[in-house]
């Protein structure tokens, strides 16, 4: 209600006269609404009324022999009048609006999304040749046509969508999923890591190792060079090697070792609260803007960052913003029992092994062993051995 009366505008009037009641009654009966009618003194009242009703009040005042004068003007219409007087401001606002509208009717950025194997720059170039580049008026962009051209130029694209949003044009592309070419060159299956061969399944090629063999990394497991023996199929010359792409699964037992340690008594420093201090340096003078001058903590770590905000190409204004960050350091002490320390050390060793071992692979055995040095050290050391059954075969191509 307040807002509405503000938007429509109202005035505060001082009415003087002998028959003020008659003035009010007459106005009210004609549908004029008053508010905040206050008695000021004999035959003098102040009241508020909406702006549009002032004209009809003049007539009523004449008939009831009263006078009124405007004491206060409140509301948007009065503000608008004031603005109307300041033509330059008005014109400036209008000009700003017009320029904004004008500039926003052009494409200013062209974005290419979804191009992984295709070069986005090449797509942009094609689009620019088809009539979509920085500075093109928006109404000149023919989306369908540009899509067509790009699709024709790049057969690797399955779908192209051009979308102009505001001053940004977005070219969305979806690439075709091409089937992975099956390489046909001859290859061996070699050991990727050292281990004890447990299972051997040959799909093609000649097995070179047997189950139970220990292999070292790089050693051929299944050879792509097949030498047929005597009494084979017809058409195969014995002794003459045939080359194939060896395939197969070689599961081997592989060992991983991890080590972890944990002291029984740990001392260190932990970070706590952080306080930031901001300063501006002009030339050699330094002015603190906010934050403390010195660290508020007895033990702390400082990090100082210097930024030069006024920096354009080779020009550098001698103004620096220096941020100093004080981080509180709090000493701490943790006492662990033998069991706790051992568990922590094992956990550490486990996480180390996790980094080395592959995700797949079956854990066959796992044992943690405490290393004892013979003298009391106040530290628990653990060695962890994990044995995994995993596929160690790696395809390695060769030239016959």
């Amino acid at each position: 209600m307040r807002l509405v009366s503000y938007l429509r505008g109202y005035v505060s009037l001082i009415v003087e006269g002998r028959a003020l009641e008659r003035f009010i009654n007459m106005a009210v009966s004609r549908g004029v609404k008053f508010w905040d009618v206050t008695y000021l003194g004999k035959d003098r009242i102040i009241l508020r009324v909406r702006l549009g009703a002032v004209g009809s009040l003049r007539h009523i005042a004449r008939r009831t022999a009263s006078r009124f004068r405007v004491r206060e003007k409140v509301g948007l219409p009065f503000l608008m009048w004031r603005v109307r007087r300041r033509k330059a401001l008005y014109g400036g606002a209008l000009l700003f609006f017009v320029i904004t509208c004008f500039l926003s009717s052009f494409v200013w950025t062209v974005e290419v999304n979804g191009a992984k194997r295709t070069d986005p720059a090449a797509i942009r170039e094609t689009a620019s040749a088809a009539g979509l580049k920085t500075g093109t008026p928006r109404w000149r962009v023919r989306e369908k046509e540009i899509e067509q051209v790009i699709r024709e130029q790049f057969p690797a694209l399955a779908w192209v969508g051009v979308d102009v949003k505001g001053s940004k044009a977005q070219i969305k592309v979806v690439e075709k999923k091409l089937p992975v070419a099956i390489p046909g060159s001859p290859a061996h299956v070699v050991a990727g890591k050292a281990g004890l061969v447990k299972e051997l399944l040959v799909l093609s090629g000649q097995p070179v190792v047997r189950e139970g063999d220990t292999v070292s990394p790089g050693q051929i497991l299944i050879s792509g060079e097949v030498v047929p023996g005597e009494g084979g199929e017809c058409g195969v010359v014995p002794g003459l090697p045939r080359y194939t792409r060896a395939r197969g699964i070689v599961r081997a037992r592989v060992w991983y070792q991890g080590y972890g340690e944990s002291p029984l008594l740990e001392r260190g420093e932990r970070t706590g609260k952080t306080t930031r201090s901001l300063a501006v340096a002009v030339g050699t003078r330094r002015l603190r803007v906010s934050g403390p001058a010195r660290s508020p903590y007895p033990r702390f770590r400082t990090r100082i960052t210097v930024k030069t905000p006024l920096h354009w190409r080779s020009f550098r204004a001698p103004v620096e913003i220096i941020t100093t960050e004080y981080t509180e350091l709090m000493p701490y002490e943790i006492r662990r029992s033998q069991r706790e320390a051992r568990r922590l050390a094992e956990k550490q060793a486990h996480s180390l092994v996790k980094l080395l071992r592959p995700e797949q692979g079956l854990v066959i055995r796992e044992d943690a062993e405490e290393i004892r040095t013979g003298r009391p050290e106040g530290i628990v050391r653990v060695r962890l051995r994990v044995e995994l059954l995993e596929d160690i075969g790696v395809v390695k191509e060769f030239k016959p």
Partner: protein, 93 residues
């Protein structure tokens, strides 16, 4: 048949009349007092006199006198009049 219809009509009218509040049917004022700070008078006929200590409001068949301190008319429209201030009495004359 006709008699029954007529009787029903009269009945309905009487009930409708009973349902309606007095301020509408008899054009009586409805005066609402909120604590001692606000009086709202609906169905008024204008004001007879206005001062900071008493406001006389014309209503159907008489006047309502609102007395108090620092009275002011918060709003006045053809159908409602709201008086604000430290109200001490509302008298029907």
């Amino acid at each position: 048949m006709r008699f029954r219809e007529l009787r029903n009509q009269v009945k309905r009218k009487a009930m409708a009349a009973l349902e309606l509040p007095g301020e509408v049917t008899l054009d009586l004022p409805k005066i609402t007092l909120t604590g001692n700070i606000l009086v709202s008078i609906e169905n008024h006929r204008g004001i007879a006199s206005f001062g900071s200590d008493a406001v006389r409001v014309l209503v159907q068949a008489g006047e309502v006198v609102v007395s108090g301190l620092n009275l002011m008319i918060r709003s006045i429209s053809p159908d409602e009049l709201i008086i604000e201030g430290e109200i001490q009495g509302v008298t029907l004359v």
